[in-house]
């Protein structure tokens, strides 16, 4: 039987990814991903499908209860302060990703200008320099979130060779990981994404 922290990581993974394949399960819990996936399916918390396993309503309930326990032990006061610090690199990252996708003036970046692309990728590294220590401080409050440090670093390491690792939502790209972290922080602080969107932070 899995311990509850592994179970939580996997269920929340299924929630954040929408669909969980053995490969994406491994992102959250390592090599045992596939076995654990089958176990949760057997318990009726996940339901297998063509594009991957999704949360059942029992799975959603179980996830809510585990997140509730996590929230009780987390230092919400400290986390609120850390979330305020998160705002600035969050804003910068979104600008950088947009600059990667669109040239000034709004036309699609066709990546024919190597100097431009290099400059933008350099800005991602600058964001990471600010973000990495912050994510570590967040993980000190909520141990489950420690995987984000590793995942962000892994995305950054692959970026030069494979540009999909900047923002493609179908791989564990920097923006994708960042966005899942953002979603986790909103959940931990009991914040609403729509309100955050209205405030320009989502």
């Amino acid at each position: 039987m899995t311990d509850t922290s592994t179970e939580l990581a996997l269920l929340q993974g299924a929630r954040l990814k929408g669909r969980l394949t053995p490969e994406t399960a491994a992102v959250f819990v390592g090599d045992e991903g596939q076995a654990l996936l089958q176990e949760l399916e057997a318990r009726g918390l996940l339901k297998a499908g063509a594009a991957g396993a999704r949360l059942t309503s029992e799975g959603k309930e179980r996830l809510a209860s585990l997140l509730g326990e996590e929230r009780e032990t987390a230092g919400v006061g400290t986390l609120t302060g850390l979330y305020a610090e998160f705002d600035e690199p969050n804003h910068t990252l979104k600008e950088v990703v947009t600059a990667w996708q669109l040239r000034p003036g709004g036309t699609v970046n066709d990546h024919s200008d190597a100097d431009y692309d290099r400059e933008v990728l350099g800005r991602v590294e600058a964001v990471h320099a600010v973000a990495a220590p912050l994510v570590e401080r967040i993980a000190a409050e909520v141990p489950r979130l420690a995987t984000y440090s590793r995942r962000l670093a892994a995305a950054l390491a692959r970026l030069d060779a494979d540009h999909r690792f900047l923002a493609n939502p179908l791989v564990d790209s920097y923006h994708q990981v960042w966005f899942e972290l953002h979603e986790d922080l909103l959940g931990l602080l009991g914040l609403d994404r729509e309100d955050e969107a209205k405030a320009g932070r989502a």
Binding site: R15, L16, K17, G18, R19, A51, K94, E95, V97, T98, Q101, L102, R103, P104, G105, G106, T107, V108, D110, S112, D113, A167, N168, P169, L170, H175, Q176, F179, E180, E183, R193, E194, A197, K198, G200, A202
Partner: protein, 483 residues
């Protein structure tokens, strides 16, 4: 002081007569039929504001000017037969659209309206009377006097005063324009498109503003005044209808349109009125156009020798060419379609499908082989599986760097963001067409035009001009010209 006659006999000083009067005179210099007009210069505005009222000289100039209009048209101001009506318009050296006042149908009295009813029917007379009363009271602030010349004096003074109105002053402050210039007053004979079966009003584009084709396109409303176009009271006919009913007028109009385009060296959007079988041009300006039309027209005008190569290139934006290289909504279909939501363009392209409100529904419908458009307040990470299967994505909240925007661009799904809270709920279950590049959502399934092919002659020529290897490189080349 003499009125400045706008008869095209001499070139006028724009600072003195204002943009409106300058344009009227300029069209007359081109030999084009514009309703006769005269002006009092911006210098008269300054003295009127100083003295607090029109001077005796200015009053005399108005009198002389009106006599001139009467003799040109064979009508009489305030008369019981063939009455003359005039518009009193503002016009500064620098355009301040909508900031100052205009009074129309000045000269409407019991006598002249009775004459109008006698000659052209009670409906026309009532229309003129009501419109005059409404605008005069609004601009001058009093009930109009019965004497037509008193009406003209009050209207001219009010238009001069509108130079110092709070909104005009605020506009100048905002645009860094000085307060000292003043507005001119242009007094122009009114022409009527609702007199008889040989009357009407319309607009003409000297080239097709949607496709860029070198063929005029226009609308014609028989028996109507210009304001009817805006109010939607009358359904316009194509310009061919004018060609059938009044072929000489149609030919004269096309000839005038060509002269206007050649003079401006750009496609023109021309407003005209036909009054009892006589053509009058009311206004001309550079036409708004689709991205494709912008490209086609600029290249064509270079080929025709109207523009130099660098002038043609300067008319284009990277977005114009980029839009041609994508599938796009058929401009003719878009022109008559209903826009059901509007937001910020996040990812260009066109997507058509049934609107669903959640990623799971998107997946279910897509599994069943349906085209879906995902419409949600915002997108969450777990919406990505729904975004992947959607033909387009629309959100209520967030800007061009929001999650939905970033992810849609990665997935190359047309996307419009920030349509407004609550604006998409009603769309669920309906079929729509999303134009991501324009930030528009249309009702229904609109026809989509395929991207311009690689050997499109206009784009090929552009690649040669800009020295790039393929049309795909044009947007970048236009955005970042070599120094």
């Amino acid at each position: 002081m003499k009125p400045i006659l706008l008869d095209g006999s001499v070139e006028l000083d724009r600072d003195l007569v204002g943009g409106k009067a300058w344009a009227v005179n300029h069209l007359r210099r081109l030999g084009l039929p514009v309703p006769p007009a005269f002006a009092l210069g911006t210098d008269v505005c300054r003295t009127t504001l100083q003295d607090g009222a029109l001077s005796v000289e200015a009053t005399k100039a108005l009198d002389v000017g009106v006599r001139h209009l009467q003799s040109v048209l064979g009508r009489s101001f305030g008369g019981a037969e063939s009455p003359l009506f005039v518009s009193v318009r503002s016009g500064a050296a620098r355009s301040m659209p909508g900031m100052m006042d205009t009074v129309l149908n000045v000269g409407a009295t019991a006598t002249t309206l009775a004459a109008l009813a006698e000659e052209h029917g009670a409906e026309v007379a009532d229309d003129v009377g009501v419109r005059f009363l409404h605008l005069f009271e609004k601009v001058v602030g009093t009930v109009p006097p019965e004497d037509p010349f008193e009406q003209l004096l009050a209207a001219a003074e009010a238009v001069f005063r509108s130079w110092m109105s709070p909104r005009a002053t605020a506009y100048r402050r905002h645009h860094g324009l000085p307060d000292g210039g003043g507005t001119a007053v242009t007094v122009q004979a009114m022409v009527f498109g609702n007199f008889d079966q040989w009357s009407g009003t319309g607009v003409l584009f000297t080239r097709n503003p949607l496709s860029g084709a070198r063929a005029p396109l226009g609308e014609w409303l028989p028996l109507a005044q210009g304001e009817d176009v805006v109010s939607g009271r009358v359904t316009p006919l194509p310009l061919d209808a004018l060609a059938r009913s009044m072929p000489e007028i149609h030919a004269e109009l096309l000839e005038a349109a060509q002269r206007l385009e050649a003079d401006a060296r750009d496609v023109q959007d021309v407003e005209f009125t036909v009054e009892s079988g006589r053509l009058w041009l009311l206004q001309t300006r550079s036409a708004k156009r689709s991205a494709e039309a912008a490209v086609r027209i600029a290249v064509s005008m270079q080929r025709e020798g109207i523009l130099t190569t660098s002038e043609a290139v300067a008319r284009l934006t990277p977005g114009d060419v980029a839009a041609m290289l994508r599938p796009r909504v058929d401009p003719a279909a878009a022109a008559v379609a209903t826009v059901v939501a509007k937001g910020e363009p996040a990812c260009p392209g066109v997507g058509v499908g049934l609107v669903v409100g959640s990623a799971n529904e998107a997946e279910d419908h897509a599994d069943a082989g349906e085209d879906v458009v995902l419409a949600t307040p915002t997108t969450d990470p777990d919406d990505v599986h729904g975004m992947v299967v959607a033909r387009a994505i629309v959100t209520e909240l967030g800007g061009s760097t929001s999650h939905a925007a970033v992810v849609s661009r990665e997935l190359d799904r047309p996307c419009v963001v920030g349509c407004g809270a609550g604006f998409l709920t009603d769309l669920v279950g309906r079929e729509v067409t999303v134009d991501g590049g324009a930030g528009l959502v249309y009702e229904g399934r609109l026809a989509v035009v395929p991207p311009a092919s690689g050997d499109d002659p206009d784009l090929s020529l552009l690649t040669r001009w800009l020295g790039v290897e393929s049309p795909a490189m044009l947007p970048a080349a236009l955005g970042y010209p070599a120094d």
